[in-house]
């Protein structure tokens, strides 16, 4: 199909590629890479290791400052995605690049629409999409609007988009971040089928378990350089993690059994009629002081709504919520915080911090009106700075200065600012939503330690996550939410597998109501 490809040589590769940005940051340093035709190559590395920048150069979104990109056995100059696509390179971005109001088929053909003389033949588009889906085993509904289909189908749409352009190299950037275990398995099956058909696949990830499952070989990047390439069969998660961070580091958490010391949170029969999004129905559970309760579920099944109700951002239609014995009905957000609630929101860019304000200011937003930070209604800048410097040190926030705007920090450090603020308020109950999303392995490890320490210091933690590995590693007890109801409750997480929890997330299995509410004391609505 692509006449421009040589008979031999790597499907995609790099020769001494370096990328230096205008501000002097060297994102990629002297990378040499050869990926032969028909291989699934995983590229792993921490955030900021240069994986994304390297992929952008393969896809023409960035141009190397020096060195060469190879496609189809020959050095190429990729002026933009159009020229990469023309050479048979396709990319599925981490943030899916779909037009929400378009149908699946319209998204698949976008940019290369069938039809003559400036017209778009929508019927042909739907037929092409259906045929491609059939051939590749990536099931989609061509005529459904993208904003109305599941995340899994959106991702399959992205891959079909790439296939429709006749790609021979498929770049998948963190494709499993938003998928359930079952969807991940389906994706892997489809990717293997594509490989067997001669496709070369670059699989970007930091989930080492998945990398071991899907890839033929693994290339590890660290601080912009390629540190090495190994056969997957020779690699262990531990050895890969060590290569990624340059030292021995594991995500295994040593957990002493929880020491429960009373009740942090009681939720009884909470109903919530959502104007948009997911409504909640009959939610009831406890979080004890000194334990971590995990909340699993496919995203969009009511986790966001529940977290925002607990944080006081939304009001439940009915039901009772008590934090350490105090009813929260009628309290505003500040009242919820005074009752002892800390909240790490799932979308830190939108709700977690004021991005254009300094680290110091972000660290005092919940306590700026109290001594020692303020006196007689006036802020004391020196105290604010000292407070920030203390937390920057305690939480190992990597920044030159407390006056740096939060926007300038990496994802992991941004999250540390928020976690530092919430945990230093010594909450009775911490609601932590997607606390490690998009942060690197070092920061992840750090968050795990801090959540564990907060638990051991007697806080109750409600950990909401899309990452089952994380939930199973951290949670003392686990709840599963589906369609706004609790469908499972595991009071002992040892021996629980991701696959088994996945069945409850998908609704294949469920616990009965009595099991979920067993042992919950009655609480009067206040």
């Amino acid at each position: 199909m692509h006449k421009a490809w040589e008979r031999s040589g790597p499907a995609i590769g790099a020769r001494a590629v370096t990328k230096t940005y205008g501000n002097g940051v060297r994102a990629v340093r002297g990378v040499d890479l050869d990926v032969p035709v028909g291989e699934i190559r995983a590229i792993v590395g921490e955030n900021g290791a240069g994986k994304s920048t390297l992929m952008k150069m393969f896809y023409g979104l960035e141009q190397p400052s020096s060195g060469e990109v190879l496609v189809g056995g020959r050095p190429r100059v990729l002026g933009g995605p159009a020229s990469a696509i023309g050479l048979g390179v396709g990319m599925v971005h981490q943030n899916l690049m779909l037009v929400p109001s378009f149908t699946v088929a319209q998204n698949v053909v976008l940019g290369v629409e069938p039809g003559r003389r400036g017209r778009v033949d929508l019927k042909a588009a739907a037929e092409t999409t259906a045929r491609l889906a059939e051939e590749s085993g990536l099931a989609v509904d061509p005529n459904a609007r993208v904003d109305e289909v599941s995340v899994g189908m959106r991702q399959r749409t992205e891959i079909l988009k790439v296939l429709h352009r006749g790609a021979r190299v498929l770049i998948l950037d963190e494709p499993t971040a938003v998928l359930t275990p079952q969807e991940t398995e389906d994706l892997f099956a489809a990717v293997r089928r594509l490989r067997d058909g001669g496709m070369t696949v670059l699989f970007i990830s930091h989930k080492l378990r998945e990398v071991r499952e899907i890839s033929d070989r693994v290339s590890v990047m660290r601080a912009g350089s390629l540190v090495g390439t190994v056969d997957t069969s020779d690699a262990t998660e531990r050895s890969l993690a060590a290569m990624m961070v340059g030292r021995d580091l594991s995500l295994d958490v040593d957990r002493a059994p929880a020491r429960r010391t009373g009740v942090a949170l009681q939720v009884r029969d909470v109903q919530y009629a959502a104007p948009t999004g997911q409504s909640l129905d009959g939610i009831g559970f406890d979080v004890a002081a000194g334990e971590i309760v995990g909340l699993a579920g496919i995203e969009g099944n009511g986790q966001t709504e529940l977290a925002e109700i607990l944080a006081g951002l939304r009001r439940p239609t009915s039901g009772a919520i008590r934090v350490g014995g105090t009813g929260t009905a009628g309290l505003d957000v500040a009242g919820h915080r005074r009752a002892g609630i800390g909240y790490v929101p799932e979308d830190r860019l939108r709700n977690g911090a004021a991005l254009d304000e300094s680290i110091a200011d972000n660290l005092v937003v919940d306590r700026h009106d109290r001594a020692p930070l303020a006196r007689r209604g006036l802020l004391r800048p020196r105290a604010v700075r000292a407070h920030a410097e203390q937390l920057i040190e305690d939480y190992a926030i990597r920044t030159p200065d407390a006056s740096v705007p939060v926007r300038a920090l990496s994802g992991g450090n941004m999250q540390k600012v928020i976690v530092a603020r919430e945990l230093s308020a010594a909450p009775r109950l911490l609601i932590a939503s997607q606390v490690t999303r998009g942060v690197d392995i070092g920061a992840m490890r750090f968050m795990y330690e801090r959540l564990g320490a907060a638990r051991d210091a007697g806080a109750g933690v409600l950990l909401i996550s899309a990452d089952l590995t994380e939930l199973l590693a951290l949670a003392d007890r686990l709840l599963v939410i589906k369609d706004g109801r609790l469908v499972a409750r595991f009071d002992d997480t040892s021996g629980l597998t991701e696959k088994r929890v996945g069945l409850y997330m998908l609704g294949v299995e469920r616990h009965d109501h009595d099991h979920i509410t067993t042992g919950l004391e009655e609480v009067d609505a206040v």
């Binding site: 400036g118 104007p275 505003d332």
Partner: protein, 310 residues
Amino acid sequence: MSAVLDVVLSSAFLAAVLRVSTPYLLAAFGGLVAERAGVSNIALEGQMLSAACTGALVAGYSGSVALGALCGVGVATLLGLLLAALRLELGADVIIAGIGLNLLASGGTAYAVFTLLDDKGGTSGLKSGSLPAVPLPGIDSIPLLGDVISGQNMVTWLAFLTAPVIAWLFYRARFGFHLRAVGEMPDAAASVGIPVRRVQYTGLALSGALAGLAGVFLSMGYVSFFVRDMTAGRGFIALAAVFLGGLRPWGVFLAALGFGAAEALAVQLGTLDVPPQLVSTIPYAMTLVALAVYAWRRRRQAGVEVAASV
């Protein structure tokens, strides 16, 4: 009250609605194209005004109505491209840039007219003529229908033709397909190799051209001279029609027609014994009411409930 009903039900009123709606329709479609390309065209008003002024002046001096109209539309197109350049090349806030262009147009047209004609009010001293009306032989003898649609200005015909053309462009043509993708998800469009900026420039040029045609109609169809600030907020009302119409071609069509009807009503009621100051507020009052209704409906559909502070 019956006097009002007589006015509203007359064929003269229906003909007036078509005539008065013309600038609203064209400007609203201009606004719609820009909005769907992802760059709000706040400068519709200024583009209309510049086109109206340029059209009247060029037609008056050259003696060619066609050349005047062409130059008017051309100037508005250039203003559309200028807005795009300010936004896309220099990163200007699109609202501020739009307001700037509107002020520039208001002051610039008044200055040009005063410099050339030594008249602070307008170009009534200049004989510039107007774009031709289209009589429909055969149809003009049909009662009612003939009175309403025959003899309308050619720009009115163009305005009503624009609706199906825009609908076709948006949903059947490759360009509209790309335009909607660019406006909704520029990153997605760029990632499949669609030249995002070129599409946005084209959209803004088209937007300016449509606003220009609306302006040319005001000074060379509605009347045959330019008056200072003669657009009188029609560009902003058209912008309201864009949102009221839900960013959809036929919705925008109906909204613009509604605003046209309101203005026509104001004009017709002016002949009756109603305070003219009150009557002339009808289009603006209707805009406010319509936007309030729109906001209320939107909040009911998509409002995220956030508990109010106690």
